[in-house]
């Protein structure tokens, strides 16, 4: 018995007779005998809700959580209850891509609002409806740069971007005759002096990240002018939570802004679903990858929203398409939209400031009381990197015994990084007690 299969035996019989066949098997007679699957799939039989729930609950309980200071692209922030309540409406989550605007205004308007929010945060003019995650957004942004600059074949990137972003870029561009050139860092930030030497007519753009993988903020003064002199584009990746306080991509003069909106109301969920955002200058609009929603009117002249500029997309361009994206993370982007509407203008500022205040509190206390050093003396937002006297992974493991996830040992993301670097993230959710406990635990682990 299967609760989602409504057919009674009697109905099946009647339907078969209407079709003019005697059995369901006859409907599969076109599968050549040689490749027909004759046995039974080697899977258990179906189960009741209770049995399934019990199994899943056991699996869920077989994971453990701690007080989290983990970041590196995924953060433990407060999620207002509005987010779950509204994302859980079946009108949203059981609908398809809004191809029929007449009956999809809900999703379409929400995406239009999402696009507006991303433009506001990044200070850029156009945003799409979202991409998969921040890392793949980076590769889409680089492809956009290559496609909108003539006769270019090189992407520069800072060594301080997330190592996983680098790895994704390598996979995406390795077979496309696009050269990826890494620019060096100095004291935990991009060595901006190195940019000039690499610029030339062949460079489509430069990808940088701030806050970067160490958590450090980077100074891009003059960078966009330098790139534009060579008709190259500046791509800046930022944790969007930071944009509540730090200089936005548009304010630095960037052409393309990207990042990952997991901090805006999405659970960590072992890394996914998340949402990649991408915003750009008006000039790049027609080359933007992915879905875009536009405002128009219906036959009665009423405001209406619709998927637009679809001529850019794969289903029309097919083998001439420059991106194969044919979806967005709509429901998760809706979550971001509800989150930002709920916390609002002042709330986001306040949250960003609290992240900064708490991270600075912990960093200073660690320096003072645990005697540890920062890997570099740079400004930071809610994440900072310690240079420990021991292996970071060992310290983290020792602190885990105290119920604390102490941070990310950077050599686990990128084996070429020193073993003693620990990146610590502090969100508004961490209390002063938890941070004081962190310091004590760190002291113990360092002994």
């Amino acid at each position: 018995m299967f609760p989602y299969l409504p057919h009674t035996d009697k109905e099946i019989k009647a339907m078969l007779s209407d079709i003019g066949v005697d059995s369901i098997d006859e409907l599969f007679a076109d599968i050549p005998a040689k490749i027909r699957f004759k046995g039974e799939l080697n899977l258990p039989k179906g189960q009741s809700e209770l049995e399934v729930y019990t199994r899943l609950k056991r699996l869920a309980e077989n994971n453990r959580q701690g007080v989290s200071f983990l970041g590196a692209g995924n953060y433990d922030h407060i999620i207002p209850s509005t987010v779950g309540a509204l994302m859980g409406r079946t009108e949203f989550y059981t609908s398809y891509t809004p191809y029929q605007p007449e009956i999809s205004q809900g999703v379409l308007q929400a995406i239009f609002e999402f696009q507006t929010l991303m433009c506001e945060l990044t200070s850029l003019q156009v945003s799409n409806a979202s991409l998969y995650d921040g890392h793949t957004a980076a590769s889409e942004a680089c492809a956009l740069a290559v496609n909108s600059t003539r006769k270019t074949d090189t992407i520069l990137y800072s060594s301080t971007i997330h190592p996983y972003t680098k790895q994704v870029l390598e996979t995406y561009f390795e077979d496309l005759n696009i050269k990826l050139v890494e620019l060096p860092e100095k004291a935990g930030v991009l060595d901006t002096d190195s940019v000039k030497d690499q610029l030339g007519d062949n460079v489509a753009g430069l990808l940088v990240q701030s806050p970067n993988i160490y958590g450090n903020l980077e100074d891009y003064t003059g960078l966009s002018d330098l790139l534009h002199e060579h008709k190259s584009l500046l791509i800046v990746s930022s944790n969007p939570m930071a944009l509540g306080a730090i200089k936005s991509q548009g304010e630095w003069g960037a052409d393309i802004a990207i990042g990952d909106t997991q901090p805006f109301g999405l659970p960590a969920y072992y890394g996914g679903p998340s949402v990649g955002y991408i915003a750009a200058t008006e000039k790049l609009l027609r080359k933007m990858p992915g879905r875009i929603v536009g405002q128009s009117v219906d036959e009665d002249g009423k405001r209406a929203f619709v998927l637009t500029m679809q001529a850019r997309e794969q289903h029309i361009k097919r083998e001439r398409a420059t991106s194969n994206i044919c979806s967005n993370q709509a429901l998760a982007a809706l979550g971001n939209t509800i989150y930002l509407a709920t916390v609002g203008k002042e709330g986001l500022k306040e949250l960003a400031e609290q992240n900064m205040q708490k991270a600075h509190y912990l960093a200073e206390k660690l320096k003072k009381e645990a005697g540890v050093e920062m890997a570099a003396d740079q400004p930071f937002f809610n994440e900072f990197t310690l240079a420990l006297p021991k292996k970071a992974a060992d310290i983290a493991e020792a602190m885990e015994a105290d119920g604390i996830f102490a941070g990310v040992a950077l050599n686990q993301l990128d084996a070429s990084k020193p073993e003693n670097l620990l990146t610590v993230a502090v969100t508004e959710k961490r209390t002063v007690e938890e941070m004081d406990r962190y310091v004590q635990s760190m002291k113990g682990a360092l002994k």
Partner: protein
């Protein structure tokens, strides 16, 4: 309520000073940002984020939700999209805090439960497809296609066979297929369909040379027909040194009946949001898990989930890996739902689902073919394609008109203008979760639309009239793009 209030954007509801969320009081010294970092790093311009109360938020998005059609409201016969019912137990299990709160970089000994789920799910998907192992990382079908093409690339690179640059794609293929091959660095060559609506083996033979990397196929194909020559096609492509890629968009037709691995495919992508019942979410997130045979296993993207003794772990040490294709490990919350579905259905249920999906499609096809032109009249699998061409020629009623009329009757439209090989195509996929009454009601409506086409075509041109908005001016939207709200 006035319609004005009903149709506002969240920004238009904003009132200066209004708040919808209380941030906990700060429990550390509340220093100003400029006391912590130099001013040059700080934001200059304020954002125009809305200032609304929690009540405003709830009412605004609840109203928006009511302007949206969805599977939970009714029939969604959208071809190639498998809009089956999304079981509620899936939502319950996906909401378990023991999954939702996990950080992707926390120690693996603290994530044994989710790793076991990922391992188990991979194993089961392999069983359904007849493959050897796979990756759950791809975020969507198109991302899975890209991953599949990278398997091709990595395989030939390892062989030192870099001249294989050509990927064959049938003329009826999903648009993502050629796009995915192209962005992976392949040259795309189209293979023609024959008069039966299947891949022409004769045409295929023209393309089998030393440049062939492989072919991308879906089976059943986009006309809903089982490719009867598939075994021969596989043999021909393999003999020419090429590989076969299976686009799993249409797997819902053949679970427990025929497996891509047995057909001869080397790599398969699945749309967990279609076949395995996870919700579409208005366009995502989905999952495009990819399964491969032994030959391609060495090239899996890193990391992949493995088991040693009773311990599960993420294996980053894959010497010939294609590399990393996403930040972390995929849309995990979607995987939890798909796994729940597979447990609920079991081997008997999955097979039954395919049987009834095919029964429903053939029933509809038989009941509609008298009134609408059926270009390929034979047993279909889970979907079929009708053409509005004759209706268009006779009464000026095209595929879009039929689609829009269905909206008026409270039913979602079929996929129109695809596949490209049928003029005025309308593609219907009922799925197994529709009851006979639901199908009969649909048939009745389709007949009424056909009557209207003959008697009063203008009425059809005007539909829909009772939906939240009527037909939308797409030319204006694309010509003068307004893509965001602007503060006054």
């Amino acid at each position: 309520m006035s319609t004005q209030l009903k149709n506002k954007l969240i920004f238009e509801r904003s009132r200066e000073g209004r708040r919808g969320f209380r941030v906990p009081d700060i429990d550390v010294p509340a220093r100003k940002p400029e006391e912590m970092v130099d001013k040059k790093y700080l934001r200059v311009h304020e954002t125009a984020l809305p200032e609304v109360s929690e009540v405003d938020v709830i009412r605004h998005y609840t109203r928006l939700s009511q302007k949206n059609y969805c599977v939970d409201l009714g029939f969604y016969p959208l071809g190639s999209c498998t809009m089956k019912y999304n079981p509620k137990i899936n939502e319950v299990t996906a909401g378990l805090a023991g999954f939702a709160g996990l950080h992707p970089l926390q120690p693996q000994k603290t994530t044994q439960g989710i790793l076991e789920l990922m391992y188990d799910l991979t194993e089961r998907l392999c069983e359904v497809t007849g493959m050897s192992w796979g990756t759950l990382q791809p975020f969507a079908g198109a991302h899975g296609e890209f991953t599949g093409m990278k398997f091709f690339k990595s395989y030939f690179k390892k062989q030192g066979d870099t001249g294989r640059t050509k990927v064959l794609v049938p003329d009826g293929a999903h648009g993502t297929n050629p796009a995915s091959a192209h962005i992976s660095g392949f040259e795309v060559v189209e293979v023609k369909s024959n008069e039966k609506g299947m891949v022409s083996v004769e045409d295929l033979k023209q393309h089998l040379d030393e440049n062939l990397a492989g072919i991308m196929l879906t089976n059943p194909n986009t006309l809903g027909l089982y490719e009867e020559d598939i075994a021969e096609i596989a043999e021909l492509v393999h003999d020419a040194g090429g590989l076969l890629y299976y686009d799993g968009a249409n797997l819902n037709a053949i679970m427990g009946k025929s497996r891509p691995g047995d057909m001869g495919f080397d790599v398969v992508h699945l749309n967990l949001h279609k076949t395995f019942s996870t919700p579409h979410g208005g366009g995502g997130p989905g999952s495009g898990a990819v399964m491969v045979n032994k030959k391609l296993e060495p090239f899996l993207p890193a990391p992949t989930v493995r088991k040693k003794g009773s311990e599960y772990y993420l294996d980053h040490d894959i010497p010939d890996t294609m590399g990393r294709i996403s930040g972390f490990y995929g849309n995990i919350a979607v995987l939890v739902r798909a796994y729940t579905y597979i447990l609920t259905m079991g081997n008997d249920g999955l097979k039954r689902a395919s049987e009834l999906a095919v029964l429903n499609a053939n029933y509809l096809k038989e009941k509609l073919k008298g009134r609408y032109f059926l270009p390929y009249d034979r047993v279909c699998k889970h979907e079929f394609v009708l053409s509005a061409q004759k209706m268009k020629d006779a009464y000026g009623v095209n595929g879009t008109d039929v689609a829009k009329a269905l909206l008026e009757f409270g039913i979602h439209a079929p996929t129109v203008y695809f596949p490209l090989i049928v003029h005025e195509a309308m593609m219907f996929e009922p799925t197994e979760t529709e009851s006979r009454e639901s199908l009969d009601n649909f048939i009745e409506v389709m007949h009424e639309i056909a009557d209207l086409a003959e008697k009063d075509p203008d009425k059809l041109h005007e539909m829909p009239t009772s939906t939240p908005v009527r037909r939308v001016d797409q030319v204006q939207a694309a010509k003068h793009p307004v893509l965001r709200w602007q503060p006054e």
